[in-house]
């Protein structure tokens, strides 16, 4: 198996047997996007190019539904079996993808065990609390992810209310900073800045948001665990629950 997509990389690394997985995408090595950088080190990286992948002679290629359609088309024409996994936008999708990965790898029982563990860990969070603080998801360029996103589900699982969706802003996209500030969230969860500098990320540290953060206990940042639908999202939930309890 060759995995071309960050999320399939991780699920494959978690579920695959010895020798099943022969390459992961290069994004798996980016610490800001991948929580499994160390494990990824065991595998050679690929850049999702058809020629490169074909040269590795895989039995199957794992990709996402939004992976480059030309690359995938080319691979299929060359006779390679490509399985595409949908984007995980909620926890049901996570479970489904884990089971699907298990099926594809021939490791169904391992997958089922993983899902069971996932459900158990999730139930352990006391998410139904009376006082649900509001949280704002804030990324570079004043981007917010709306209600059909993994980030939204992570918030809800941690017993927080998504400030933007509460106010009726359900679409993912850039929202003027003024409107975000007006929501006066109890918690500001920011994206992390990449090295180098960009104006897009300058707004993450805007003084208005600094004032809002003064009232919260602990910096809340999204990181690699928020990106893909894997059991790692529960670690993110755990950290948020921690912060919530201290508020």
């Amino acid at each position: 198996m060759v995995s071309m997509n960050l999320c399939t990389d991780q699920l494959a690394m978690l579920l695959a047997d010895e020798g099943q997985l022969i390459s992961v995408s290069h994004i798996a090595f980016d610490p800001l996007a991948s929580p499994m950088v160390e494990e990824a080190g065991k595998y050679p990286a690929n850049y999702g190019q058809a020629e490169e992948v074909f040269a590795m002679r895989p039995d199957m290629v794992l990709a996402g539904v939004y992976s480059d359609p030309y690359t995938i088309g080319l691979l299929r024409r060359l006779g390679v079996d490509v399985v595409q996994f949908p984007l995980e936008r909620d926890f049901d999708a996570i479970r489904a993808n884990i089971l699907k990965m298990g099926e594809v790898l021939g490791r169904e029982s391992a997958a089922r065990r993983m899902v069971a563990q996932f459900d158990a860990d999730l139930a352990a969070f006391e998410a139904d609390v009376a006082e649900q603080p509001t949280a704002l998801l804030h990324y570079a360029n004043n981007y917010t992810s709306g209600d059909k996103s993994l980030a939204h589900e992570i918030l809800r699982a941690a017993g927080l209310v998504n400030a933007t969706t509460e106010a009726g802003i359900t679409v993912a996209g850039a929202v003027p900073l003024e409107r975000l500030v007006l929501l006066m969230p109890d918690l500001v969860i920011s994206g992390q800045a990449y090295p180098g500098a960009s104006r897009a990320e300058e707004v993450l540290d805007h003084p208005a948001l600094r004032r809002l953060r003064e009232r919260q206990a602990g910096a809340a940042l999204t990181d690699a665990e928020w990106v893909c639908g894997t059991p790692f999202v529960l670690r993110a939930v755990a950290r948020l629950v921690d912060i919530r309890k201290r508020m």
């Binding site: 360029n141 003027p176 990449y194 180098g196 300058e202 208005a208």
Partner: protein, 326 residues
């Protein structure tokens, strides 16, 4: 006198509107209460940390650019001279981008404005070298084209080489300019350099008046040309550098404003300095307001609006002076 009053009035009105209008949809009463009395947490945050610094920055940037344009035109005795057009803003942007991408700006806050100032300085010196006061309009424009092209290309290169995935698409901001999501952080970075620039340039009023008669006559009337040149170069570098560091390269302000106001001040370069500073502030405030009213949800770059107004204006100016272009 009448001109000053009307400019100040326009400034006051536009500033008020600028502070009142925004996507947050606050009522006038809320706005006033939040701004002056600090009532209403959310509204106060929006007013004091988002709208107020943006309006203030528009005034500062506009004044700096208008003043620099008037000073440059006065010295070069050429109505086509403008810091944006002849590559000074572009070079300032290059300086800023280099310092941001190498992390120097994060390490030391002064690095950003000083790098932008250095970039602007290099461009002004180069322009004076190539097309100084004795040079023709043609040489000036050609030198400007070359410097702008070089600065733009280098800026794009630096941004493309950045490890940051957002940086590459930000060439637009640096080339076109924008005041969105600015804060008092930016005001404090720019203000000291702008104030220095303003005082340097405003002190050149009389020398610029006398330079109307040519360099030789001016030299014999007590104008120390070397000192004037140095103050001009430093003043323009300071003003344009600081403005570009926080708002990107905004062109055409220094071209359009002095040209429009010149008849109202009797063509006196000294009066035009003050008038252009005020006029520049009015123009940038108005443009920033328009940008927020036309496409409120998107960040329409300020420079786009300036170019839409300024470029046809520039073409018209070229057409008008085509007989005189030596």
């Amino acid at each position: 006198m009448a001109l000053r009053v009307s400019l100040f009035l326009a400034l006051g009105v536009l500033f008020t509107l600028s502070v009142m209008i925004g996507p947050a949809g606050l009522s006038l009463a809320d706005t006033i209460r939040a701004l002056f009395l600090g009532q209403g947490d959310a509204a106060t945050l929006v007013m004091r940390e988002i709208r107020l610094p943006r309006a203030i920055l528009a005034v500062l940037v506009g004044a700096s650019l208008g003043l620099s344009g008037a000073a440059m035109q006065g010295y070069l005795r050429n109505p086509l001279a403008e810091p944006g057009l002849i590559g000074v803003s572009g070079s300032a942007a290059l300086g800023a981008v280099i310092v941001l991408q190498t992390g120097l700006a994060a390490a030391w806050w002064l690095a950003l404005p000083m790098a932008a100032l250095a970039g602007a300085l290099a461009a002004v010196l180069l322009i004076l070298l190539l097309a100084g006061p004795r040079g023709s309009s043609l040489t000036l424009i050609l030198a400007g084209i070359a410097i702008s092209a070089l600065a733009g290309a280098m800026t794009t290169l630096v941004l493309n080489l950045s490890p940051n995935p957002f940086a590459a698409s930000e060439v637009v901001f640096w080339m076109m300019g924008s005041l969105s999501d600015r804060s008092f952080d930016h005001v404090w970075i720019a203000l000291p350099f702008m104030v220095i620039g303003w005082s340097l340039l405003l002190s050149l009023g009389r020398p610029l008046d006398v330079l109307t008669l040519g360099e030789d006559a001016a030299a014999t009337m007590g104008v120390e040309t070397r000192r004037v040149r140095m103050l001009l170069v430093l003043g323009i570098a300071s003003c344009v550098g600081a403005a570009t560091a926080v708002a990107g390269a905004i062109g055409f302000v220094g071209l359009v404003v002095p040209h429009i106001l010149r008849p109202f001040v009797g063509a006196r370069p000294s009066s035009l300095l003050w008038a252009s500073a005020l006029g520049g502030a009015v123009m940038v405030l108005a443009a920033d307001l328009a940008v927020r009213l036309i496409l409120p949800e998107r960040d329409l770059k300020l420079g786009v609006l300036m170019a839409i107004i300024g470029a046809p204006f520039f073409l018209h100016l070229i057409y008008k002076t085509r007989g005189e272009l030596r």
